[in-house]
């Protein structure tokens, strides 16, 4: 499934544990049995992913609703 997300900026956050600045990389996110790869910022070392509020309440919410109605 193809869901394009706008490019996400890490906004000055660093990984608290690894002390590394966040980098954009492909991660797999899942919902309602569908999963897809998107570019999201996260820690290059431990892999924690960052979801900013605009994304959670914007595009992500839209896609959630779409998948819920499928």
């Amino acid at each position: 499934m193809e869901h394009r997300l706008p490019e996400i900026k890490a906004g000055g956050w660093i990984c608290r544990k690894c002390r590394k600045p966040l980098e954009s990389r492909a991660v797999e996110i899942t919902y309602m049995g569908s999963s897809f790869k998107v570019e999201l910022p996260g820690c290059p070392e431990c892999g924690f992913t960052f979801i900013p509020p605009e994304l959670a309440e914007g595009k992500m919410l839209e896609v959630e609703k779409l998948l819920e109605d499928k």
């Binding site: 000055g12 956050w13 660093i14 990984c15 608290r16 544990k17 966040l22 991660v27 797999e28 996110i29 899942t30 919902y31 309602m32 999201l40 996260g42 820690c43 431990c46 892999g47 924690f48 992913t49 960052f50 979801i51 509020p53 959670a56 309440e57 992500m60 919410l61 896609v63 959630e64 779409l66 819920e68 109605d69 499928k70």
Partner: protein, 786 residues
Amino acid sequence: MDQETLREFESRCTQEEPPACQSFCPLHVEARTLAGQVAAGKVNEARKTLERHMPIPPLGGWLCEGPCKEHCLRKDLDQALDLPLLERFCLRAGRTLPPLALPATPHRAALVGSGLSSLAAAWELTRKGHRICLFHPGPPGASLRALPPELLPPEATDEALKQLAALKLSFEEIPKVSPLWLERLCLDFQAVFVGLDDPALSAESLGLRPEDLLLNDITRESPRKNLFLALPQPPSKRPFIEALSAGKKAAASVDRVLNGVAPGTAREKEAAGPTRLRAFPETERPKPPSRPADPLRPSPEEAGEEARRCLNCNCLECLKKCVYLRHYRAYPKKYAREIYNNISTVFGIRKANSMINSCAECGLCREICPSGADMGSFCAQARLEMVADRHMPVSAHEFALEDMLFSNSPEISFLRFQPGLEKIRWLFFPGCQLPASMPEAAGAVYAHLCSGLDGGVGLFFSCCGAPARWSGRPALTGRVAAGIREAWEKAGRPRMILACASCRLFFRAELPEIETVTLWSILKDLPCPSEKAEPERLALHDPCASRHDRATLESVRAILNRLGQATEEPPLSGRLTRCCGYGGLADQANPALGLLYARQRAEDTGQPLLAYCIMCRDRLRAAGLPGLHLLDLLFPASTFEAALERPSPGLSERREKRLLFRRGLLRKLWGESPPKEENMPEPPLEIAEELLPRLEDSRILRSDLAAVIRHAALHGPLFAQPEKGIFLAALRPRQVTFWVEYEERPDGSYFIRNAWRHRMLVPGVPGEGAESPATLEGFAAEGGRV
């Protein structure tokens, strides 16, 4: 859902039935549409509308006598709409394309006579592509040309004949007809039509006996094989529209014969007669009928003026009263089909999910609809089926269900006998929302009941389970109801006193063995706790769940009477009251529409409100209307003005108030102090002021924030901006991920700067809750496709 359920509903909603003008028109011309188009100046479209049903329009439009006028609803107001005038206008002013025929067929049929009926039949049949021969004694259309020009201008006949020639009608002049000639014709052609309205013909000259003229009303079939007829009509019987209709109907029969189908197949709808549409046109001030200078040639202004007199007859009664039904821009019959399709969808997007969940299931439409169409129960059934099929996303109702589980958890719910008693006859059940908004009043009511009623009054604090039922989850509903039943049985089967109308509906449906009364029917017979009526007149709002509860409606009015409180009934009240938007979890599934429900109700009253359901009171308050709960009058805890303006508590505040209600009463009346685990320390949080409304909208509770912070305090947050001293933590305690951005204060407290949530699963967020609903065995293991 089976087809039958859909059909049953569809047959109730009569909005798609034709208005009277159309149903009584023998040709079923869509007069309402036509008038609307003329009124809007769309005269070419109006002409198209006319031509859809009117055979041989250049003649029909001039000659129709307008039998619709006897049935037009406007006639009761002043005078019927003059549709013939509008039709003549369309013919004169509207452009039209030359008529088109379907691809040619090999079938042949004969028409006899060139009166109006034969030309109408010719128009219908040639356009179907059949090869039609019209036999006429004398010049074609002679009888029409003989009409006075102010009734039918000669150009109209020319135009009609030209159109028929273009449609490849072959005209055959015959010098003389005879019985034998007709017999031969009937052998040569698959079907024959004779238009006896042509004065050049007569039954005798064709050898037609009286018994041959006994026609089937709709098919115009004669007992003689393959023969169809139109009979001449006297002036009193509107000969022209009769001829048009006879020609059109006979042509439909001939077409069926040519296609090898019995002429009578599927013809029920062709008869002219009363409609099932119940139209309630807005009564407007009578507008005088347009009196054109030349009634045969009305000007566009004159025609427009007449067209605007049409009342645009529709039902749509329910839409006038329900904001939900207006919101989706159609009407129940259409909605029912959309919902049915939504349920039957196997692959693809289910577009109606939100619509199904946004109905308040308040039952007003059923009261309003002349045939009792009940959109509420239709939506309720759709929810049940979609949840059972695991096609209804849980997200719409998840918060409400979690809130129900919270209210029913041992942390909140309790049942106690009246202090000092071992038996009770009564059990007060305030519901989950009254103590969440007015805990002091709920406590005061309990004390009042204890002092006023004999036999002991217990207190049972819990949620009835209405959210489970509204969300379409019978197993979950059953579990909650079973819990209540068990507690009630243990308490010795006392009579239950319910403060909430929705609880009462729930008990009646799910726990019929429990005898219940509403708080109001009890309070009406107890000494009045307050002496003081307020000087201001209040608008009394009945909850939708009480619309059929006569005893409650009357009790409330009796209480107000005794108190001497002046009230006013809003336009819709009692049996016809409107929902505030809480019903059916409408506002949970669709907060924006939920607000419109409340606003609509607020607009009904326009003055301070008096409600006796706490959700009604709080929701209308949140929609901007100052208002009281009846308990504010009976057990005043503040000034009148302060009570009117008291804000509706937020979601977190409701939970905190429930806790306070429980702890306060348990300590005060039963001397119990909370056990240790209830005192689990919350991390000290301070929430940025501007964040509060957003938390409400996203349904993020203070306790959710606390859980994230507690987790971060133990395991460390995920991200940081060290130079600013801010942290970002995330946790997925159930199928929602919460993010919290915060600062740590030197005194060990936390300042919450921002918080947000999403449901998608993203790698690396701590929390096991992961992908299952919040409990009660995963919302009773049904619903909530994950």
